[in-house]
Symmetry: D3
Subunit: 69 residues, 6 copies
Amino acid sequence: MALSARNRLDGTVKEVTTGEVMAEVVIELGDGQEVTSTITLNSCERLDLAPGDAVSAVIKASEVMVNKD
Amino acid sequence: MALSARNRLDGTVKEVTTGEVMAEVVIELGDGQEVTSTITLNSCERLDLAPGDAVSAVIKASEVMVNKD
Amino acid sequence: MALSARNRLDGTVKEVTTGEVMAEVVIELGDGQEVTSTITLNSCERLDLAPGDAVSAVIKASEVMVNKD
Amino acid sequence: MALSARNRLDGTVKEVTTGEVMAEVVIELGDGQEVTSTITLNSCERLDLAPGDAVSAVIKASEVMVNKD
Amino acid sequence: MALSARNRLDGTVKEVTTGEVMAEVVIELGDGQEVTSTITLNSCERLDLAPGDAVSAVIKASEVMVNKD
Amino acid sequence: MALSARNRLDGTVKEVTTGEVMAEVVIELGDGQEVTSTITLNSCERLDLAPGDAVSAVIKASEVMVNKD
């Protein structure tokens, strides 16, 4: 798989919450930081996501903002 | 600042590349993973981003995909 | 807060609709125009959003399209 | 045109900056607030955008974040 | 309608699934490939989408990733 | 690769335009419709994209709007 999306953050599924159309997936990264994703319920079921799964958060560079306090 | 975007990943600016309209910012996270962001050149200059700056990558949950090999 | 997202439109929360995973927030701007946002239910509760709240709609420039009739 | 994108903010083109691939368009809304958009240079030329043009900023609800100070 | 979004894929609504806040719309393209969209329930009702409707999937170029196996 | 993004449209690279930070890739689908993507120059070089390459356009469902005339 060679996908143009620049960002792949490896982690483990911590929590999955499902609704009628959407699902929320919380992923814990190596350093303990968390990444939350909302995907369609359909995709969540297709990937058969469950706590403990090894996954990666995939994010296109144009969707990432930068904050500098 | 209470922003609805769920994801804030703390890190350090590693590299900044600028074009006429856009800029690319590579951020190194605590665990060595990298996050790349494309923002407008204007924002890059407004934030005065330079290698070594402490920043956070801010990402809305709806922009995060999940990959499970 | 110095966030790279270029667009901050100040307004007031007019309406909040919640589902199991997502929430919809309608914001009225100064000139009466409205901006609608969908965020996670979790973020909506974290920000404790309710009608009458002073908020700003924050939008990355790359997410804005232009229409010219 | 019945587009699902919920947000259409009417305004006037204030400034256009072009690069080799992308273009930045600053739109002034009725109440003086500004919205900045980055689109492809190709789209900018196709719409023949110039300062003074009456346009609307079109934004999908899922791309709008909410900030509450 | 002259919208900056570069991508308009013509097709027919195959399936609509609604939740409390969001709705999922599956569109069949001419060549049998499918495109799935999640929009707000409000937009889905405003457009009065139903199977068999002639529609187009509209996608900003910055939201499209490229995969090369 | 099991990616949550719902939309994978198979096609062939028709045209690649590069700038200092971004690149534009035009993909021709089976039925002759075209999909345009903007990705970082870095990703474009990493994928070594050139006209004639078999690729797929990958799009998250939340980034797809619906238009009904």
